[in-house]
Every structure is written in C-alpha cells, then in structure tokens.
Amino acid sequence: MALTKEQIAQRIAKELRDGYYVNLGIGIPTLVANYIPPGIEVVLQSENGLLGMGPFPFEGDEDPDLINAGKQTVTTVPGSVFFDSAMSFGMIRAGKVDLTVLGAMEVSEEGDIASWKIPGKLVKGMGGAMDLVASARNIIVAMMHTNTKGESKLLQKCSLPLTGVRCIKKIVTDIAVLEVTNGGFKLLERAPGVSIKEIISKTTGRLRVEGEIPEMKF
C-alpha cells in the first residue's frame, strides 16, 4: 500500500534527533510537526523570522503579526525567538539548521532538485527554496513517487528548471525511502506491501537495489 501524505510525514519524523533545529517546507513537510517522536525535542525554524514555531492558534487567538513562511497563523513555544529575514537565511546559510524537509517536482539521481517553475505555466517564484537547498546541511525531500500522469519524479536528469544542484541527500515518497549516492538512488526502505518491482518500474533514474530492502516501520 502506498503511503498517505500523513504517513510520509510520519516516516520523515523518524529522522528527527533530539536537539535538532528543523525547517519544514509547505505541504507534506509541514505535517512532520504532527509526528515528532516522544522524548525528542526539536525546534522548528520558519524562514520569515521565527525559531520555535508552535501549533496553529486556538480559534479567536489568531495574531496577524505572527505567521509562518506559508503565511499561516501560528503560535510560539517557550524559548521562541523572532529575528529578521537576513539573520534567518544567515543561520540557514551558515549550516545552523540541522534538517530541512521540502517538497519537489523532480529529483535527479545526482541530487538536483526542481521545485519552483513549470515552463508555460505562470511562475510564482522560488521564495526561500533556492536558499534552503543550496545551504542546508541535510535535506530530505518529501513527495509522491510519480506525478499526476503517473510519470516518475526520480529522474536521471531533471527536466524542469532547477532549484538547486547536488543538494538532496534523502527522499521519502509514498512508496520508498531512498538515499542519493554517487551511484544513483539507493533504495533503503519500501512502503509496507509495496514490491521492489513496483518501485523499479516507477523510478526512471538509476536505482541501486542491494540486499534485503526492509519495509518501513512506523
């Protein structure tokens, strides 16, 4: 069974370590915050200028001056701190954020990522994505394995305009966990009940399948 978006987030949450500072992108990555394992404390960074992002406010408590990078109303947690956008990207560029999770349209077997622009469609902009992928020490892409047409999003080369080059380390899709290695995508785990054959058929880029491939655990 392919994972739901919530399950993708849940699987990514297992990559969190105690004391991590984490930047979660819009979409599936945002959901990761709902699955932080017990006993693990992480601080969420929002690139519009907040460390220590809390959950959505209770109805009626929304504060227009307190939003996240997705422009959603949020809250703070004890130990939160606000800063300006230059410092925000400064700490990202300096490698102080331990983990970045973001979505993608395509990832190449060399770790290139395309996520911001589709030729012929109206372009909304890259926001902070180019800064994040170029700077972060550790990036996980959260995405569906194939696009709405059923085509693989894990390619030899990205076909869409790039967001960054050779920057993605790990990918969690609805059917697999993969690591970007010198020899292409290395299959680490498969979704429960999903066959290696299915993953192979849905992966256009070079795929390394070595030894036993365990099913994901939650």
Binding site: S46, P55, L66, T76, A86, R93, L122, M130
Partner: protein, 232 residues
C-alpha cells in the same frame, strides 16, 4: 533630531513617477498600509517595487497593481494575486524573481555598505545567468549586488521621534533590512513615542537609518491564511 511628519501623505510627498521603492513585509504581515494607501492616492506611476511579495488583489501592493502604478516588481514570491498574473501575462508588468535570502541580504548589504556578497543560492539554476560564480572552500557561490533604492518604506510596531524602531513578532521580517537600505527611509508605526521612552537595549532599527516617521492609523492587518485549532 525630530523626524516626525504628520502622516503618510507628507511622508511620501516627494516620491515621483519612476521611483524605485523598497517595502517591508512578508505576505500581508508587517506591510506599510498607510503609505501604500497614500501612494495609491498620489497616483504616482511607473514605480519599481522591491518587496518579498506583491500583496493580494485588494490589499498591500495589490492596491498599486489595481491602479497600474507599477512598472516592475522585484520579489521572491508573487502568488495569490490574479491582477498581478494578468498584467504579467499581458506584458504590462516586468517581474524579476530572486531567492528570498538573496533579497534579504541585498538589503543588508546596502545598509552595511557591502557593494556585493556571495551566496550559494541559485548556483546552477537560471538565477545564476549572467552572474559571477566563484568557488570558496570547495563550494560555488554567486556574486550578488546590494540594492540601491530611492525610498524605503517600512512598518514598525513602536518608534520614537529619533526614528528608532521596534518590530513585533514575525512582522519584523524584511522591515529592519529594508529600513537600512534606502537613500530615504520612511517608517510608519503603530505607536509613536517621544525620544527616551524606548529601552535603548531593545531597538531593532537605530534611528540613524530612518529619515521620516509617523504614527499610522486604521491598521487592518489582514490575515492571509487563517489557520486555527479547535478549542477542546
């Protein structure tokens, strides 16, 4: 050292057609609402606006778009605005998209007197076209230039007559950076105090960067994405 002007109209009175403006704010958070309204009223045209976003159809920079006062928009993300899309597709409006961290740092560079800086953002992408690429410690960086704008317009929470500013929560965002970067910086504040009333330890923007200040009024502070939890 009194930099107080009466209102937004007076603050922006010498902004002429064709001016290059920088505006603080992220989405609709921390935007200079009063000055935008005054710019609409003044009907200045052919503006170049540098700001992280372009507002929504009927709020923020969107109000200037409605009146076709913009020639060019420099931003990192411009979704949520159908009039913007229409003008862009029809060729009425020029758009330059730049990475958010690069946008922030081009302000910082102007305020700190750095002519250029190097960032890895955009290396290997179309953003790198025409730019110097240079390798330091095994990593490639793009050379980016400091902004040079005629006017900076920001919104702060509190300010004093010397132009010292304090921002609230994530309404800080680009505001202190934009404030540092303009040749003339205009600040509108929710609460204006006499000099000496703000704790000098907690000021975000020193008044030396601010040329005009006024207390704004009727802040709408529209929320773009109202996301809430149910109370138990």
């Amino acid at each position: 050292m009194n930099k107080v002007v009466q209102n937004a109209d007076e603050a922006i009175k010498d902004i002429q057609d064709g001016a290059v403006l920088m505006l603080g704010g992220f989405g609709l958070c921390g935007i200079p609402e009063n000055c935008i309204t005054a710019l609409v009223k003044k009907e200045v045209k052919n503006l170049t606006c540098i700001s992280n976003n372009a507002g929504v159809d009927d709020f923020g920079i969107g109000l200037l778009l409605q009146k076709r006062q913009l020639k060019k928009m420099i931003a990192s993300y411009v979704g949520e605005n159908s009039e913007f899309e229409r003008q862009l597709l029809s060729g009425e409006l020029e758009v330059e998209l730049i990475p958010q961290g690069t946008l922030a740092t081009r302000c910082l560079a102007a305020g700190y007197g750095f002519p250029v800086f190097y960032t890895p953002a955009g290396v290997g992408t179309e953003v790198a076209q025409g730019k110097e690429v240079r390798n330091f410690n095994g990593k490639d960086y793009l050379m980016e230039y400091a902004f040079d704008a005629d006017f900076s317009i920001v919104k702060a929470w509190m300010g004093d007559t010397h132009g010292n500013l304090i921002f609230k929560e994530t309404a800080r965002n680009f505001n202190p950076l934009v404030a540092m970067a303009g040749r003339i910086t205009i600040a509108e504040v929710e609460k204006l105090f006499p000099a000496g009333q703000l704790d000098p330890n907690i000021i975000h923007t020193p008044g030396i960067y601010v040329h005009r200040i006024f207390q704004g009024s009727n802040y709408e502070k529209r929320i773009e994405q109202r996301t809430v939890r149910k109370r138990k």
